[in-house]
Symmetry: C3
Subunit: 253 residues, 3 copies
């Protein structure tokens, strides 16, 4: 018998999530005929999660000069050649369901979460960056910044199981590193102080939660499991599991 929940990071997990998404889309297309052709084009006509995701991303990010066909081929080739990109996407879908009380279904996240879509596009841009294809990586980065108002430099290294909640205004600089299972709220900045060149951006440990509008500047370390308060400005290391940058909310109660 098929397990109720397949082992993490397996091909089974990807096909399980994809079967959930298709079932959700079929249910929604039946209950809402106005969405049927949209759900067919974005989900139901595709044989796999990478194809659906590539189609959806290409349509969101294309422009009159950067064609959807070019982007679709680029995304699909990247997802096909790199199983780790696919397992990261699956881990992000699971993270949204588990950590965001407003996330009602996998298909909702796949179709509607600009943070989810921005991070998948970033992973492809990062791959291009590592392959010394900087101009294409930066063109993709620019489209993500325009369309989603999410600005992640292609050189930034980002883990899996990431939740970018609301996502608008997120900025992650060139030499930043973000661990696994990190949640970043909207308007978070992982930026430079403006005084340094080279390795100048924050390093965020596994399982960190950074509240809305928090600004973390410089090559500082936020230890695993730390929580950074909304609206705080953090310029030094925060130890693991500490609740950091909390003074500001406390003072403004």
């Amino acid at each position: 018998a098929v397990p109720a929940y397949p082992p993490p990071e397996s091909e089974e997990e990807e096909s399980w999530v994809w079967s959930q998404i298709k079932a959700e889309a079929r249910r929604d297309a039946e209950s809402e005929p106005a969405l049927a052709s949209y759900l067919y084009a974005t989900v139901l006509s595709h044989p796999s999660l990478p194809r659906s995701l590539s189609f959806h991303l290409a349509n969101k990010l294309c422009s009159s000069t950067l064609l959807s066909t070019l982007l679709y081929d680029l995304f699909l080739a990247s997802f096909s050649a790199n199983p780790s990109l696919r397992s990261a996407a699956v881990a992000d879908l699971l993270a949204a369901r588990q950590r965001d009380p407003a996330c009602a279904s996998f298909s909702h996240c796949l179709l509607n979460y600009k943070g989810f879509l921005a991070i998948q596009a970033h992973r492809v841009a990062h791959l291009l960056w590592l392959q010394h294809r900087g101009p294409l990586a930066l063109a993709l980065h620019s489209r993500v910044a325009d369309v989603f108002a999410v600005d992640i430099h292609p050189a930034a290294r980002v883990g899996k199981g990431i939740l970018l909640d609301h996502a608008t205004g997120l900025v992650i600089g060139e030499t930043a590193v973000v661990g696994n299972n990190v949640s970043l709220l909207h308007h978070v900045t992982l930026g430079g102080t403006g005084k340094a060149v080279g390795d100048r951006h924050p390093k965020i440990g596994d399982g960190v939660l950074i509240g809305a509008g928090a600004t973390i500047l410089g090559n500082v370390r936020i230890g695993a499991g730390a929580k950074i308060g909304a609206g705080s400005v953090v310029l030094t290391d925060v130890p693991p599991r500490l609740v950091g940058g909390k003074e500001k909310p406390a003072r403004h109660e």
Copy 2:
């Protein structure tokens, strides 16, 4: 004789505002021929405010997979069947003229204010939500978040006479409630603390003003007429008419 200013929330008020908008558009089309066909398409070719607004919203929010015809029909059906949506739109237009010194005309607000357009689309998404049409409500919500960088969950209840000034980056969570005649500046968050599920977002009283970048978290009450300072973080109730969250600006003078 027709009164100079009709009674609030009447059909007369809607047709008075619409006649103002048409007169402004005619004047602008004459003085600026480059805009004539734009103003004809968005305002002058339409027989009523709901039709003009539905056309404009559909054009702004459509995509290659979510067609403008579908959105136009959806908006027009919603505005036609719900006079309260129309009177709320009129109240929002009046609020922009009365409270925003940079708002030069009703047509400027109708055509150019992303905050005004986002809130009209939200009211339709909220109606769909109440009709148990969640998937369509969330698809519309997602388009508003992409196009305007304004993220209002379809379940959030929002009053009338609302001014979303500048609007970029506004986030209003699922169980938030916003009263009448409220002004919210850009980058305002009415969010959750991340610790609660269920009813977890702020309740904003009538006539409240919330400054740019203020972050209000949790199921707290901001009393009627309160003013919340720019950049403040508010985690507890604020009594009516109080100037709350003001410490931060005071300390940074």
Copy 3:
């Protein structure tokens, strides 16, 4: 012999920068065939910087009702008739290369920096404003706010050599003045207090640096060379060369 670096604000400087951009685009088109037709359309097919920039801006900012041909003609006419707009664009390109460690080339800035593109469109909108063509200026302003999430009122006066780093969420109000060689990070607000009408927005001196998310409100003066800390709220004058609004980061270390 042609100097390695031409005199500032000369026609030579513009043609030098343009020749750099063309050489970069040729190199990128060769190394990345997937971008060749994009680079041909945006850069290589154009005989001058103003034509390339006008084409790129028109394509980014057009909509189904505001056609790219209209915008292209408007931008090109403005750049052709106003050498100061062209020299300001060149100064902005140089500022990005000099002040942003992540800016790898002039063509990267021209094609991908939404802050650079937003400020060029603003200068045209400001010109229209001065020519009493308010409705067209505001329509352009609105498109920039939608497409780039950058909101600069057409009446605001902005100098040259401006770096809008990341740019998302920037708001500059109607009566604000920004000097030359100013760097503004993302989410910066130069806004009003909501209590005043008329001349109610900040005046920013030459060479000022304003950190991410700083909120400066009211008709206050930020003196030349001052640095304003990320996330700070500033409600009073800051003397020249002072590091202002720094308390907040200090308290949240």
